[in-house]
């Protein structure tokens, strides 16, 4: 299981994208690579789900986008966290922590 990229837990992709953008604005591919690096290759994302998530987050006002040049002087759309997005990230991180702790407790006791 560890050698095959696994599917994301339902609904967590948005949170992970927000987390990735918390450091600095990034373009789509950058976000994909960063997520894969940070998860040490556990997650492999296809373009479809990634871009649907971008569209959703943008429409919810959690991220905004801007065309900029990349380090390789290519034009790319950079995504950045809005204030609202930052707030959402904080609340979701807290909530996630609570849930993980709870699940862990259940798994340990049984």
């Amino acid at each position: 299981m560890a050698d095959k990229p696994s599917d994301l837990v339902q609904g967590t992709l948005d949170m992970l994208i927000l987390k990735t953008l918390a450091l600095e604005p990034m373009h789509g591919y950058g976000i994909a690579v960063r997520l894969e690096q940070m998860s040490k290759g556990v997650f492999r994302l296809n373009a479809g789900s990634l871009f649907v998530a971008f569209q959703r987050l943008q429409r919810d006002g959690l991220i905004r986008s801007e065309w900029k040049a990349t380090e390789n002087s290519r034009r790319a759309k950079y995504y950045a966290l809005t204030d609202q997005g930052r707030k959402r990230l904080n609340s979701e991180t807290r909530e996630w922590g609570r849930q993980v702790a709870a699940i862990a407790r259940i798994l340990e006791t049984s």
Binding site: N46, G48, Q55, R56, R59, N72, R75, A76
Partner: protein, 884 residues
């Protein structure tokens, strides 16, 4: 906030489609390029790298589709596509479209029309502030019916109750306005808090003041907006000006807003109330007594007080009053009626019956359309199969078909709105009878919303079954040419079911119409008790200073009758204080000699006609015993009267009433002697049993009526003598208004008008439904004949008897009709009791009506089956066998 942004994003994608698409293209391209570059750094060549990326991340095209279809705007876009496609498809088969739209227009148009009626009359808010807090307040009489209230009682109610914010009372008032041509108006006398109770403020001027509500200072009036426009040219300085009515000066206090139209005093023959005057009573006045039940009370409940609570409190007050004045009350409490029920209650049953009936028409139309769509579905199986093969999902195909039906529904609605626009006028001219607020019925947003909703629902309902069937089709069979009508068993069963329901619905409507028809025909043969043919009636009054003398009033009417009698073409003429079936309600209490009750409240009352000699002759009311009154019965002669048959029977059962004596009004009044007994007349309406009646000579009545109705019997059409008769009256006194110039036959007609109205509408609905059903039955038989052409050909070739074949073909259609008839009879047995209040002398389950309607339906259905079946008989076996 985020919803707004979501909308904005979606709208951007919709309207700046190209730009959004380009951006997404560029972004995705960049993404894949960057991924490929990464791979190339690891030493792959570009081609391999791109391939690897595609495998890993998904192809560009698929990704684009996934991203694009994630937003809601895609749904809108495909819907739009469906819609355009639907329009194209409908344009391609104009015949089908025309029939479908016409069917729907019939159903939806009729529904919109009736709904606009229901909306205008019942659903629109009443023109009062917070109308839910308003209730009528009645005394409850011995028999449990509602009774008007006396002024003294009202004062006690008002001061003792804690449930009402305000209680006001009113009584009707018919002044003659002497501005320009003298005109008799419909008005009310009201307490000064009347408008405050209803929650209406004058548009200009002021409300009535409490101090004006006294015998000494009550000469102020309020005008309706329409009266102000009609008679006073919308004079903005009208407030404070004097106007002349009944030879008295009144000061205008204010004008009510245009949106307020009075709903009180709903008499279709009288017209709307246009003027209000302060009541101006005082307890000391003789007509302010507790037993003077002539005032109507209306109250506004305090916030938070429930109607049951208020009723309990009023019952307590009333019980205390009965105890304090045992001789003046026989009441056993108080009845509170919410104003909505009071004003609109009587109209609501017929209207809801109509709405139910018209929805049946829509259901039949819907079933017919479904049938039409089913036969079309057979033709479209191939089209759907091709689209399925090309990758359309079942949901998408159903959506496409539903889009088509919604377009049909909306087209039908558009066509149906045209007649609905004119409905109110047509219905008004048909004389919708006693429907209140009919003049305020028009198309508004509620009606439009209803129509669009009904149209979409109809389209979806009619298209669901065929759509489901189509999408479930086995595409392989459909794609193979020559195998026609696959799955036709299920389809035939569905069509059968539709026909059964159409027949059942039509039968129910027909039975309803039949019952109403029988009621009306029963009612029309009821004799009113007089002969209305060729009799003209007109109302006039004797107003002014000179008529303060009773002798002058009597002489005036006697002179007028002489002049009328002298006119050419006039056979006889007379006058009476009221005439039957004209909506007048004048009842008078009386006491029979030897049978006077301790409590005068328990004494009987009769309809009182104050008449001039010749009234019986002119009206052709038969004199059963004794003598008619004559000119010899003058003011100084002994006081005599005539009584009706019912009066004689109830008051002197088994006795000869001639020579018996009664007192009219109070027990301190003089005796009147009965000299004759007349036939009964229907006073309130043809359907009600005649009540007790009394005829009193105008010459002898101590307070001769100033408002009299002339009845003039002409040799021929009463219209011919109308203008001559008016001139004759004006030749005595040109200042007196003449109103309600109408043949008596019109009054008789008016009394059955609301029944006629319901009958015409339900009859029309039943006819429409029947026609649609017949088309359906015809269609099903014709379809099955067409499908079995080959079989029929073989049978004929093998020597089948034509009669036998005919039976075979008819059997299928008639079996459906039989099932429909059974279902329809069951439905009718369950539903006709809602008609009960609209029926006269006919049971809701009248066997004759049920039987004849079933016979009629079976006969015409047989004809509808027979036509296509007979065509099958003419099939040439050679042609039929070559057919496929």
């Amino acid at each position: 906030m985020s919803l707004l942004r979501n909308m904005a994003g979606g709208l951007r994608s919709l309207f700046r489609k190209e730009r959004v698409r380009r951006e997404l293209d560029e972004e995705l391209n960049g993404f894949l390029e960057m991924a490929a570059e990464e791979k190339m750094k690891e030493g792959m060549n570009r081609k391999d790298a791109l391939r690897a990326v595609r495998l890993e991340r998904g192809s560009l095209e698929v990704t684009k589709e996934v991203v694009r279809s994630a937003g809601w705007e895609t749904f809108v876009e495909t819907c739009w596509q469906d819609l355009r496609f639907a329009l194209r498809m409908l344009r391609k088969s104009p015949g089908f479209t025309a029939v479908a739209v016409l069917t729907l227009a019939l159903g939806i148009g009729a529904n919109t029309a009736i709904f606009s009626l229901v909306n205008g009359v019942l659903l629109r808010p009443l023109p009062y502030r917070d109308p839910n807090r308003l209730t009528m307040v009645w005394e409850k009489s011995r028999d449990g019916s509602r009774e008007n209230v006396g002024y003294a009682t009202y004062l006690d109610w008002k001061s003792q109750n804690k449930s009402f914010e305000e209680i006001a009372i009113y009584s009707s008032w018919q002044p003659v306005l002497q501005v320009g041509e003298p005109e008799q108006l419909n008005g009310l006398r009201v307490t000064s808090n009347y408008f405050r109770t209803l929650g209406i403020r004058p548009e200009i001027g002021r409300d009535f003041l409490p101090e004006e509500d006294a015998p000494t200072g009550n000469k102020v009036v309020m005008l309706s907006h329409s009266l102000w426009q009609r008679k006073f040219n919308s004079d903005s300085n009208i407030v404070g000006k004097p106007i002349n009515m009944n030879a008295t000066q009144y000061i205008v206090a204010g004008v009510l807003p245009a949106r307020y139209q009075s709903l009180m005093n709903q008499d279709p023959r009288g017209g709307v109330v246009e003027i209000w005057r302060v009541l101006g009573y005082d307890v000391s006045q003789p007509w302010a007594c507790r037993t003077c039940h002539h005032l109507v009370a209306i109250g506004r409940l305090r916030d938070g007080v429930a109607i049951t609570q208020a009723n309990a409190e009023m019952d307590t007050i009333s019980a205390a009053l009965s105890k304090a004045y045992p001789k003046e009350y026989d009441d056993i409490g108080v009845i509170l009626t919410p104003i909505r029920e009071q004003l609109l209650g009587p109209a609501s049953t017929p209207l809801y019956v109509l709405l139910g009936a018209v929805s049946f028409v829509l259901l039949v139309a819907c079933a017919n359309l479904a049938n039409l769509l089913l036969s079309r579905a057979t033709d479209r199986e191939r089209e759907v199969a091709v689209r399925t093969v090309l990758g359309a999902t079942r949901g998408r195909i159903i959506r496409q078909l539903l889009a088509e039906n919604c377009v049909l529904g909306l087209l039908g609605a558009a066509a149906g709105l045209i007649p609905a626009y004119w409905t109110p006028k047509v219905l008004a001219s048909m004389g919708a009878g006693d429907l209140p607020r009919l003049d305020q019925v028009h198309l508004d947003w509620r009606v439009l919303l209803f129509t669009v909703g009904v149209a979409l629902l109809t389209g979806i309902a009619a298209g669901l079954a065929p759509g489901y069937r189509l999408s479930k089709n086995n595409m392989h069979d459909s794609l193979k040419e020559g195998l026609r009508g696959s799955g036709s068993v299920a389809s035939r069963r569905l069509r059968g079911l539709l026909i059964v329901s159409e027949v059942a619905l039509s039968l129910t409507l027909l039975i309803g119409a039949g019952l109403l028809l029988r009621s009306l025909s029963r009612l029309l043969v009821v004799s009113p008790g007089f002969d209305p043919t060729n009799v003209l009636s007109m109302q006039t009054s004797a107003l002014g200073q000179r008529f303060n003398d009773n002798a002058v009033v009597r002489q005036y009417f006697a002179d007028a009758i002489e002049r009328l009698r002298a006119l050419p073409g006039v056979q006889s003429a007379a006058a009476a204080s009221q005439i039957p079936l004209a909506g007048n309600m004048d009842k008078y209490g009386f006491h029979v000699e030897g049978k006077i009750h301790a409590n005068p409240e328990e004494d009987p009352s009769a309809e009182r006609y104050c008449i001039t000699p010749g009234f019986l002759e002119t009206m052709r009311i038969p004199l059963l015993r004794g003598r008619d009154i004559s000119r010899a019965d003058t003011a100084t002669a002994p006081q005599v009267l005539l009584i009706g048959e019912t009066t004689a029977r109830r008051m002197w059962p088994g006795e000869d009433p001639i020579g018996k004596r009664v007192k009219l009004g109070g027990v301190d009044q003089p005796w009147w002697t009965v000299v004759g007994v007349t036939g009964d007349v229907h006073h309130a309406g043809l359907e009600a049993d005649p009540d007790m009646q009394m005829y009193i000579p105008h010459q002898q009545w101590p307070f001769p009526d100033g408002l009299m109705v002339f009845v003039i019997r002409a040799a021929s059409s009463p219209a011919a003598i109308s203008s001559a008769a008016q001139q004759a009256i004006h030749s005595i006194d040109a200042t007196q208004p003449i109103s309600r110039i109408m043949p008596l036959e019109t009054y008789v007609g008016l009394s059955v008008q609301s029944r006629k109205f319901a009958l015409i509408l339900i009859g029309a609905f039943a006819t429409t439904a029947l026609t649609l059903s017949l088309v359906g039955i015809y269609g099903v038989t014709a379809y099955s004949v067409a499908q079995r052409t080959r079989e029929i050909g073989i049978r004929i070739a093998l020597g089948a008897q034509r009669g036998e074949l005919l039976r075979l073909l008819l059997r299928q259609g008639m079996l459906l009709v039989a099932c429909g008839v059974i279902a329809g009879v069951i439905a009718s047995l369950a539903l006709t009791r809602f008609l009960a209040s609209m029926l006269f002398d006919v049971q809701p389950t009248d066997l004759l009506t049920f039987g004849s309607v079933v016979l009629l339906l079976v006969a015409v259905s047989l004809a509808a089956c027979f036509l296509p079946a007979r065509r099958a008989m003419r099939v040439d076996p050679i042609v039929a066998l070559r057919y496929e």
